[in-house]
Amino acid sequence: MHPVDSTTTAEHRVVQLEEALNEAAQINAELQSRDALKTQFLANISHDLRTPLTAIITHAEILRDGILGPLSEKQRDSVASIIGGGRQLLEAVGEILTYARGAANQLTVSPSDFHITAVVAQVAALNEPLMVKKGLSLSVDVTPGVPSLVADREQVMHVVSNLLGNAIAFTPSGGRVWVAVTSTSERGTTHVQVEVGDTGIGIAPEHHDLVFREFAQVDPSPSRRHHGTGLGLTIARRLVELNGGRIWVESQLGEGSRFYFTLPVGDPR
């Protein structure tokens, strides 16, 4: 080939490559912009759902507590179901909002010094009525000498709450749920380790990664037995990682599940 021809061809290819790169950059910018719009949409819709739910729950509580006059037992049961359903819906909306803020990197960590056992005890107490209703037993085991943490207390509570909520949801009546707190050493740093275990339906090893993925449910069919946003474990993972820790599951189908997370004892920032 003549040297001039080869220079021309090379220049032409450079131009083509530059055009392709520009196009890719434009597509990338467009995708990022759409992603930001989706996140904003989720945040707005969550707020718009919370407001009427607040009104529904407050009105129902006014009726339940007899402030507008006494109710019959059947009426009270019915109103209690409205409140229960409303609070469940509110929780799902809250999860969507937390997910949206996490996806947009809008979640910030506000660390404080606290002991994980206080958080576990609080979450356990909140879930006790549900455990009793389902006929499940809960045990909490804390290894003596576990140090206090510097982490975002609300976020850690959210993680424990999501894990315990899942354990309750996926464990049939008569089963056991437990929380075990220990301290471990990872890469020379002391970590607090929390295990939330159950004797429930378990998760096949090939689905272990899937459960932490957003919107993923091991059984996505409309007829599935266990409902939820599919965001609980995605959020748990994001919150644990934001606080400098890691989360994983050990489980076999039919043999219960053990979810673990660790958090470094020092400030995560």
């Binding site: 407001t51 407050t58 507590d65 402030i67 507008l68 609300e154």
Partner: protein, 122 residues
């Protein structure tokens, strides 16, 4: 006869203010409702407010502006509690710095709301 406590509910949702109005009127309080910063400030000019329940997101700005404006005009309620959708430490710190006695996450269980308001008005 002792005057009934005056509760001011500031929230831009008529559904929410409607529910809280029923709750507090039926439990022996006088209730005023405002949907904007401007209306809330005007209510306090007309009658002293014992307890203000203040939403943080209002159509004409940050809800805490209501409190700072009232303070500047010497019409600040005896007690102000912020109503918010999210209990985040930075929100709580901002409310506390502005002078709110409490930060309540909506929907606040009515038993808790009534207990707080009773405590603040006696």
């Amino acid at each position: 006869m002792e005057a009934r406590p005056h509760i001011l509910i500031v929230d831009d949702s008529a559904d929410v203010t409607g529910a809280l109005r029923v709750l507090f009127e039926e439990t022996g309080n006088d209730v005023s409702v405002a949907n904007t910063i401007r209306d809330a400030v005007a209510v306090a000019e007309g009658r002293a407010v014992d307890v203000m329940l203040l939403d943080l997101t209002l159509p004409d700005g940050d809800g805490l502006t209501v409190l700072t404006t009232m303070r500047a005009r010497a019409t600040e309620p005896r007690v102000t509690a912020a109503l918010t959708g999210r209990a985040e430490p930075e929100v709580a710190a901002r409310c506390s710095a502005a002078g709110c006695r409490a930060v309540l996450v909506k929907p606040v269980p009515i038993a808790e709301l009534l207990r707080c308001v009773r405590e603040w008005t006696t």
